[in-house]
């Protein structure tokens, strides 16, 4: 039963990739390109999320 569920889940996930692919391709080829300042701003936000998650991990370990 568990294997059947895993296979069904995997098929659905691959169907999702199949449906996402055209949108992803279009976004990568024709989507707006960010400036280096915009990407730097986004990288800082991601870094803040990483540090916050590290803090949460330290809280549950300590």
């Amino acid at each position: 039963m568990e294997l059947f569920l895993k296979i069904t889940f995997a098929i659905l996930l691959l169907m999702m990739v199949w449906r996402l692919w055209p949108a992803a391709k279009d976004q990568m080829e024709n989507g707006p390109k960010g400036s280096s300042a915009e990407w730097r701003g986004f990288a800082i936000i991601l870094l803040a999320v990483v540090l916050f998650v590290a803090l949460l991990i330290a809280m549950v370990r300590g």
């Binding site: 889940f9 992803a24 999320v49 370990r61």
Partner: protein, 221 residues
């Protein structure tokens, strides 16, 4: 000059955007509350862990095939409550496993608070700065495809390091999606509040699930 400078938006467009934003956050609050109720019901019924995967599969089928066809009608509201109710019910089955761990309640509480803080901080940032994060589209979609392929591999190969890497990547990708989705609503890119709610709900659900997994692995329980 690759950037397109958009024309100033009319008052009508601004009012329409504010309406979509208000409806999205109201529906998001209601669906999150409904999920919490369903998770509590599932905890009380002590459903088996398998219920989590069954609920996720059911919700995925509805989200991929039914919601896009009903999102422009009132029946879309019923479908989104069905999806979020199923995910909440499945979540209860998962939480019952974590509650059996020595630090289980602490892990769940920390993941819950962490998810809330990440969502509020990032959506608050996108709402107050009103920056356009549409440039993230290609990166987020490509990242999502890579993560989905890795999740399929992790279903059949039990590798804790891969699970941790996937959880970390999903948290970062979903953080990007919060900025991207919120910015799309603000800039008029998403005008359907049911689809907007579905997108934001999934980011919250995924951050919570993967934060739970990461904290569970890292807590040595």
């Amino acid at each position: 000059m690759s950037r397109v400078i958009s024309a100033p938006r009319s008052q009508e467009q601004v009012l329409s955007t504010n309406k979509v934003l208000k409806n999205t956050y109201m529906l998001l609050s209601a669906t999150l509350l409904f999920s919490a109720v369903m998770a509590t019901v599932s905890l009380f019924l002590q459903v088996p862990p398998m219920a989590y995967m069954i609920s996720v599969i059911g919700a995925m089928v509805l989200g991929m095939f039914v919601l896009p066809r009903t999102a422009n009608s009132t029946s879309g509201i019923g479908v989104i409550f069905l999806i979020t109710g199923m995910l909440g019910f499945g979540l209860g089955a998962l939480l019952s496993i974590y509650l059996q761990l020595p630090k289980g309640p602490q892990i769940i509480g920390t993941a819950f608070a962490g998810t809330g803080i990440i969502f509020l901080a990032l959506s608050g940032y996108a709402l107050t700065t009103r920056k356009n994060f549409s440039f993230l589209g290609g990166f987020l979609f490509a990242g999502m495809i890579a993560v989905i392929v890795a999740i399929v591999a992790s279903l059949f190969f039990n590798m804790p390091a891969l699970s941790m890497a996937i959880s970390g990547a999903v948290i970062l990708l979903m953080s990007g999606f919060i900025l991207f989705d919120t910015s799309r609503i603000i800039n008029g890119g998403e005008t359907n509040y049911i689809m907007a709610t579905y997108g934001l709900y999934l980011t919250i659900f995924n951050i919570f699930i993967h934060l739970l997994s990461l904290l569970g692995i890292m807590s040595d329980d």
